[in-house]
Symmetry: D2
Subunit: 451 residues, 4 copies
């Protein structure tokens, strides 16, 4: 799968480092795969918050001078994926607010399921909304809470919202990290080499800034960072884990640990399970790069069929607005992917991808392999059919666009013109992530949404 | 005067034209001299508001495609001058809000004197502020008003604010234009060639879009634009005009009519009055371009001393970050202004400028003229000494930076090293603008602020 | 005149200053009005030449870092106007060459009339041409000369070319400045504050870098700059001056001295002569800014009719690619120029422009003034009818596009819909520039080309 | 190997397609890995050549409009890698020339070993050189040849040059492709779907434009493309193949066929040979991505040790100019590469890279793996020690910077702090590329240069 489903964003928080905004900057760079549309950082110098946010990649939004103006020992950051409209610039994060306790800034990964309802209630009471982000609800709820202390107000606020949220709050002197009771989206805690702290969506951010992984922020937990103290933990909700299993399937970087496990390992396991339950006689196993690589390695190891790099990915992409000539077939996919003809010609090929969303890309890949001379093309998918949209922070097409919601596996196989098609089943997926108990959200495969 | 005092912004509203955002775009271009830091337009297609705003000149912020997304028959626009900090992007206008009656967008030229007070009161009631603009107060006041209709809420809201405001509001179906009771900042009403309407800070915007000037929006007046109707006028406040006289002195474009009079004519009058009350024997009269041109023409006509273009302005400016060499004296002023040596050499020169703010630029100009061989340099200023900062929408330095607040005219003359220095007096200035009655704010010259 | 005829470029040379390329940079900035399409500088550090050139304004092409790489105590620079084609980048100057004596770079203002012929002869002998610039001829001629010393080769080379050339050559240790025998294009010599030298197309470059004007490089003169010596002068050709009179009419900056006279003064003289020979009863005299300003001041002084700023020029231009709406008439001219309606309404107006090329802009200006309510519009042009194209370094339209080559003055008057139209005659123009003898080229007015 | 050695460029030629420049554009995109500094295309419309070239990636240099101006049915293109100096813009290709037969443009991949000598001889005869590219020699030699026909002149010219050259020439009506007698650099011939032809450095360009591979242009062969005819072949030199073996080791894209063989297959073979002759007991085989992937797959298949993706490459790179904080160790390598900690921890790891140039990157990789917990790190290199610089078109560091030229394998192993280090030997490398006879240049490993 190359496109069509996207993690909506990444968050990071740095506390207790004199170059906090610089650490946030490098962390966001490591998290860039979770959102390329906009980036932002707020820092606090103890007296005042400073915010810079704009459209574009992290490296484009910030420069040395801007980071210097983001002074202070604490900072939070955000990268955003966007379906974008004309208003996109308004929707960059952090969201900043002045309110009765002073100033605060928030970054949010996730999606609130009662956002509309909460917003309407707030609007009825006279609130105004200046953006289209769920996150704006939170600053209103905090501002309107009748509690005196910010900690209590945050607790008040998160009790009124439902859905998925991994949040980091910055006030002038403190930082707060909070996850919903289900722990839908990841959020990990690390220690900076000099004693400060970092929280981030994925641990790959820790590696870049030489931080050490401590543990995940727990579902339902609020962590409070205060100067000169160890982080204070408050159990706001009883945890009932429902981690997004798609983080393992596709979103997270393979070198990250999320929900306590290595992403790469779980992906390899999916490939092994797939080989076990969906075997097929073939000459080579090849991945759709880069997403399918770990599962293909697993499949090859389990099946004993040789792993090959059968499709190459071209990383000099960017967008071209030049129309192809009439004879240039399938230019769009060819500019990204190209077949290793000599490896494929005359071979029975198992091609491993992480998922099929609309089916059009898979169809082009099969066609490309056939044109390169593959004798047979067997598509194997390292997750179950994607039948249902996500409401917890992933940008998915509507159900009518999800091919598996509208066709049987056989029909999909015909549509993509493969010789065979098979998916990993839910049980196999759960085994791959060592889900002894029921702690993952699999709604996109099962339609079983947590209410 | 070349810098140091700046109009804070310009507003425009278009109602009843199928290419409303395009007209707003060209109008903002004509108003670009009132703010070069940021630009924005909101349009309504009847169902939904669309907003695009960003840093930069109008021509840079918008392109054909963006204007297309700003669909609908009504649009409001804004250009902004900014003292800017790291947060500047957050402070572009229009300010957009969703609230209990739907959606609205506001543009504002002016400055609220009770902004802090109103904001604090709103914050105490749980409101949050996401920007540093006074304008945000207004959307809160409208949202929190207990009236049912938007018109009534606007009236409610503007009754709670004090200071200078020329406002244009856009809702999904209507547009509103409002001026404070003093009419500090200008706002004019025009008719589009096809029957729609335009309101704009200056009439130079009308000319570009082929609109016809009808009249000014009156101080204290609310104008309501509704489909298929003539604009409805409501007298919200009893008008007590106190127009910003500095619009005539410096801000407005000479080809505009503001407060009902030609800017160019009033500037020429100032020059004539100045010649009358501050005569000096000399060979030539020259302006500091471009601001001093009309007054210099008036001075020359009244005195009979020949008008000459004695200083040239270079319009290929932009900012250079290249450090000059040691021998390159006064590079900054020389890159903008250069003397006509042959005209000046050996002459007694009267140089006309519109005002002196800090004095440093005037000092460099005198020096430049002397180096070019002027026998005598007599500086004449077409307004009284600028002694007091503005609180009604003009960006002025603090009082301690205003040279006339800290030195006598004689001392200033010595500081700028001129052979003589004289200012127009308040009476002369008022005569220049035909102020039979007391309808102008002259606080920056007199310190007499309207409370 | 706002467009349609353009000086093709400007040159500058700096010798004997440790920050030579920086001085060249600032000089080019002062000369930017002579060419906005491309800019370039070559410097010599004594061992090697360094060249940077690119499309764009001087300020965009260079930055502090680039100037640092252009090390050495001598530098030459160029700005270029271009009719540009797809190959435009290839045609930026300086032109650099390695040849049998080492390295050299050349900048050239002018146009060679035997360029094609010389190039063909060179090509027949096996030379290759990599650009479309006449200047490339010169490096070939120098390289192929059989003389031993560069000085002799330059003399050899310039004897083979005909037409207009103000040249500056840079070798590793020397700089050379050369003007054709007619002195078509200007070139002045100045002294830097610390003892080095500058040559430049106009003296406005001297002012910016605090250099002092010494004299013009003479027609037919070669100046050689060598370390530790006064510039050596060689009379290569017997001078027969035919200076481009259009430099006075339009091209040069009014604060420059070219061909030994103040540009501003000659323009004022043109206005005075025009008032004298083409009087008309009217209420006001107004210029088409900025070109017509000095002549309008002269006309007003001579006629006693008041000078007014009747048309305003908007300097926030740039190009817009937004199509106007149907009702927006004459947008293109209106974005640049707008009328002072109150000054013009009901008045008999004399409008002064420097020239009429195609007639379309003049027509729009008359229309604009009439729409603003002018009772009568009398167009007065401060030069004779432009009837013939230039072959000496000015970009002019073909003869069939020059309105005065195809219509009588009466017909032009009708075409532009003015109440009257009159031009300055040749004699008046020559008087304005104090041409006691016949030392100016007036071919664009008379068709009398120097063969 | 991630950096330090670079192919200098890529060439492409399109003949007989009405959208020739568009095909050249897409082909250059496919060849972008061979040079990212500059790009250019020349086309011929039968009457005139058109050239656009500039710094930057192919996608940045061209847009739809520019491609439209590059009209005609034939086009040649170039991408360039550059060690760049201040003069870099001058050195983009195609090199264009007008000469006695008309116009021509050339693109060149390779390096002439007698360039200096030829240039000096040409300069002595009066030629001038405007760039620092060897390629400029060729247009001089062609222009100066005394033959009448271009074909003969090309033959004349290439007989005077020595070294590596894969050339494509464009005249107004014909296209020529030529390779040196050794065939150092690749050049393949393909057929466009509609009948026209393509020549390109690598066949990956063919796939994108739906062209079909015919054969390689032979060493010493000149191919002439003329309208309405099959390509004419002339054997200019007796072929004595010495193909650059490093194309297989590192430069070419794995999905290309160069010198008649699949790049991917030869790389896999290198891995297999390496496993055979340099076995080591270990738990996993991992590649340094992306270069080491095929060899690592081959090594794993041959050794039976599991292949794992042990190091991840981050493709959101770009350059950052932000200085890291003090604690951020090895930021530069970490921003590109990160370890799969869970895969590596406690394991004996074989890490496969294609080559070691300076050794510093390898040292950082070993350190990174050890920090990630690797029990042992065994570095295996799929080519022999790189001991000698290339003079045939590859940008290599000087010999004193090549670690293998200055240290023994043992010393290198100590330097990079690996537990063991072994290289593929020359015989193994030759077997990998099926070099029955002696048709490859291995000078960078052996110092045996072809004179």
């Amino acid at each position: 799968m190359l496109e069509n489903m996207n993690e909506k964003c990444a968050v990071v928080g740095i506390y207790g480092h004199k170059e906090a905004s610089k650490l946030a900057y490098f962390s966001l760079h490591a998290l860039q795969h979770r959102g390329q549309e906009a980036a932002g950082i707020s820092s606090s110098d103890g007296l005042k918050l400073h915010t810079i946010k704009d459209r574009g990649l992290v490296m484009k939004v910030f420069d040395e001078h801007k980071l210097t103006t983001l002074s202070g020992a604490s900072a939070i950051g955000h990268t955003r994926y966007s379906t974008a409209g004309d208003d996109s610039i308004l929707d960059a994060q952090p969201v900043f607010a002045r309110y009765d306790l002073g100033e605060m800034a928030i970054v949010h990964n996730g999606n609130l399921t009662n956002a509309e309802e909460v917003r309407n209630a707030l609007i009825k009471k006279g609130a105004i909304f200046q953006t289209f982000m769920d996150t704006e609800n939170l600053i209103h709820l905090i501002a309107k809470s009748e509690k005196e202390k910010l900690t209590d107000r945050i607790i008040d606020a998160v009790k009124k919202i439902e859905g998925a949220f991994s949040l980091v709050f910055l006030s002038r002197t403190k930082m707060f990290a909070m996850r919903d009771r289900f722990g839908f989206r990841p959020l990990s805690l690390g220690r900076l080499p000099n004693g400060g702290y970092i929280v981030a969506s994925e641990t790959c951010a820790f590696d870049l800034v030489s931080a050490e992984y401590i543990r995940d922020v727990e579902p339902g937990e609020l962590l409070i960072f205060e100067e000169g103290k160890e982080p204070i933990s408050i159990k706001v909700f009883e945890p009932t884990p429902k981690h997004c299993i798609f983080e393992y399937v596709y979103f997270a970087r393979p070198d990250s640990k999320v929900f306590g496990q290595s992403v790469y390992q779980t992906r390899k396991n999916m490939g092994k399970e797939l080989a076990h339950i969906q075997p097929v006689e073939a000459d080579i196993v090849i991945p759709v790069p880069d997403g399918g690589v770990p599962a293909a390695i697993g499949y090859a190891q389990e099946s004993g069929i040789p792993y090959e790099l059968g499709i190459m990915r071209n990383h000099y992409i960017g967008r071209t607005f030049i129309e192809p000539t009439q004879e240039m077939r399938d230019l769009k996919v060819k500019m990204k992917l190209s077949p290793m003809t000599d490896i494929i010609k005359g071979k029975k090929v198992i091609v491993i991808d992480d998922s099929i969303v609309r089916g059009t890309t898979s169809r082009r890949i099969v066609k490309m392999l056939k044109e390169a001379g593959a004798a047979e093309v067997h598509m194997r998918i390292s997750s179950p059919p994607t039948t249902d949209p996500c409401f917890y922070g992933v940008d998915t097409p509507n159900k009518d666009k999800l091919i598996a919601a509208n066709m049987s596996v056989d029909e999909i196989c015909k549509f993509i013109e493969a010789d065979s098609l098979a998916y990993l089943d839910e049980a196999g997926l759960l085994r791959s992530v060592h889900a002894e108990d029921d702690k993952y959200c699999t709604a996109c495969f099962t339609g079983k949404y947590i209410v």
